[in-house]
Amino acid sequence: MSAAAQDPVVPAVGGVTSRVAVGTRAGLRLLAWAPAVLVPLVFLGFFFAWPAATLVARGFVGEDGALDTGAFHEVFTRARTWRIIGLTLGMAAAATTVSVLLGVPGAHVLYRCRFPGRSVARAAVAVPFVLPTVVVGVAFRSLLVPGGWLEDLHLDGTVWAVLAAMVFFNYSLVVRGVGSVWSRLDPRMVQAARALGATPTRAFLTVTLPALLPAIASAASVVFLFCATAFGIVLILGGVELATIESEIYLLTTAYLDLRGAAVLSVVQVLVIAAALWAAGQARRRSERALALRSDAVEHPLGAADAPAAALTALVVFGLLAAPLAQLLWRSFHRKGQFTLANWAGLADAHLSRAIRVSALEAAWNSMVVATQAAAIALIVGTLVALVVTRPTRTPRARRALAVLDSVFMLPLGVSAVTVGFGFLITLNAPPLDMRGSALLVPVAQAVVAVPLVVRMVAPVLRAIDPRQREAAATLGAGPLRVIATIDGAHLVRAGAVAIGFAFATSLGEFGATSFLSRPDAPTLPVMIYRLVSRPDAAEQGVAVAASVLLALIAATLMVLVEKGRPSTAGEFQ
């Protein structure tokens, strides 16, 4: 892993050097970009590649310290391994397809149309993203089992339940990722096509859709990664039969301490993820081109033409997203079958559980603090990566180098949270980086997971900027930093606002790595919820559900703030 993460960069930098060394100006430009490349590389090297590689390497070293790759043979001759690889790819592909098919109309309705309550709807869509999987798993199962609101569908323990949950969690990624580009697409192309006689459908298929493809491919690749690496929902909703590579790594590591098997599967997972990224990159590159982006949103009031998309979106929002949330809300007001407000009152009670000495409200505060730190780190690192990988390149070699760099920074999504968590414990435990007990350990781990998301949210927007805008600015005498500030900066602020919302949300809901690293006196809200929900006391169970609803409310509020807080610049470019 370490080699994979760092080697490709060496020729990249070297290649650029040899090309630009001729002129001091080019040399200076390289110097200016060096920190932008180095900061993310050092960050991911220390906090992702090294810990993950160390843990995986343990799997290939026998008791005597010699290299032992016998596990490959053992793992690949198991029929179960192949079944799991097939299931992982199949379920992720299906869930991604459905998320895109539902999410693109959603992006249209929520980002192109104006209607009352839109910002609330936008925020609500993002809520599932932060919810703890065990609680959502319980909510979904409660709907589907005999006695549940949806028992007639007979979906408990089926692949359909898992797929529905995957779409539930990832729908918002498509809506936001595609929506943020769509809302700033220059409408004149479509207007021209319509004026030339194209039907709305034809105009969409020939003009709008091609322009959106890079953003769709970008969002789809993230959704695919999240689905392929899902383990919580697969464990809970998939019963014992459905599995993904990730859930198997989780099992092998935490249940069997079979590091060799887990290491082999980690390698398989990285290969699968790399292949998926490569395919997504191909799709994106084929369709990629500079778009005439405006920095203000292009919107129209919801009209009759939007009815099909609006109906579909309403169906998703009220059917798929709201049902499990409603189930949670209902449960938060009940204890032992009786209506009560006690679960909500219990949120402030630090002595509710003898097992945990802080209240859920304190845990919520901890979560906010940690998420702020994690989002800040992720935003800085992710934006630097996005700026680097979207630089216009002149040589094929440089282009390839940037493409590799782009993929390398996506890998954290392809490595199990368990691997990262355990990896932290066995690497960051000695000087110079003895972080045991450090308050920054959790935010750093969460930022590692959030960086790829930030890159995927910001990069398509930067790529879509017409290079002529930058060239024009340069011609008019702006220096390179000035060009970035004026041209990229405007789009960066908007894309960054969306990205920071999601980085924050990722951190707010992250449990896998956090559970290994969080400190006892400062549990995050998801850690607190997991602890409460595994105790048989009705009060603890009830407060866990109320705390989940609280987590959802915090996430929704922040999403609304991000929406409202985006600088409105309508009219600036008149």
Binding site: G137, L235, E241, N429, G542
Partner: protein, 370 residues
Amino acid sequence: MTTTLSLARLGALAATSALMLGLVACSGGASTQSGHSATAGQSGDAMASGASAGADSAITVLSHDSFEFPQELLDRFQKDTGIKVTIQAVGDGGTLANQLVLTKDAPQGDAVYGVDNTVSYRLAGKGVIKDAGITSPDKALDFAGEPGLVPINQGDVCVNFDKKWFTDKKLTPPATLEDLTKAEYKDLLVAMNPATSTPGMAFMLATINHFGEDGWTGYWKSLKDNGLKVSEGWSDAFNVDYSAGEGKGPRPMMVSYGSSPAYSVTEDGKDTTTASLPATCYRQVEYAGVLEGSENADAAKKFIEFLLTPEVQATISEITYTFPANPGAKAPQTLTTFGPLSDQPVIIPADKVASNAEQWLKTWQSTVIG
């Protein structure tokens, strides 16, 4: 025009960054401050800045995340011995055991509490636990498989049932493991995957002990044919499947803890709405030990001996709803009345579990899941 506007945008960008950095700075400062008290044993800086902390006066005790020790007792221990104790929770029992093995070269603490006999086999012979010479309170409970582990508390994992459900249906509850495969109990039981759940593991071990190496897979086949539901973990079985759980699920029998009925005591405190089947119980013992890499083994030993004093044993019993390992300590009244220990529990010594666990789990998987 363009210039002013872009400057305004730049300003917005700068303001946003400054705000973020400011937030980081504030929150970082706050966390570090509160961190001093919690991580004094870990961080040299914290120790240097601590008012009276000496080099040998602070230890960290690793534990699973459903245990937290009352601060009052920690304060008293510190007052009596000068040793400051931090309890660090690390995931569930299985995760805790794994973490100890993985970090044995640079342990995260000085002692461990909460490794039970369904996972203690993972520590056997790995050089994780130091034999500090602590006297066991009950030799009959010394089956952790690793000499330095001392029993602290014990409980049972048993099949529980919803009394009201059986009364309403006028059905006699089953009594034995064999009964669970009878037609009248079809589709009524939920158990947990032994690979992902310690109570699930305990129940599997109970069936292995009862039916023997040759018979237990056949037993699970009949359980499956009789409509057994397997859940991934205790929480979703309790919350979704079990009729006496919070979700009012469809199944009136669940593999759970022998102490669970003490949580379902009726409001008048005279009866309980659930009960467990004593003939299905597996004895779960939780152990504590000094970690091999501890630089403060003496202080860690003192703390474990403190855990074994009758008064602290009674407190642990109250917190964990399990029974003390020290016969001289008392469990709470509700627990002894409604969730007593089984008088016929199954026990498999950890060294036997250690040599068979992986095979058993794989066999279970291929038998029950396929």
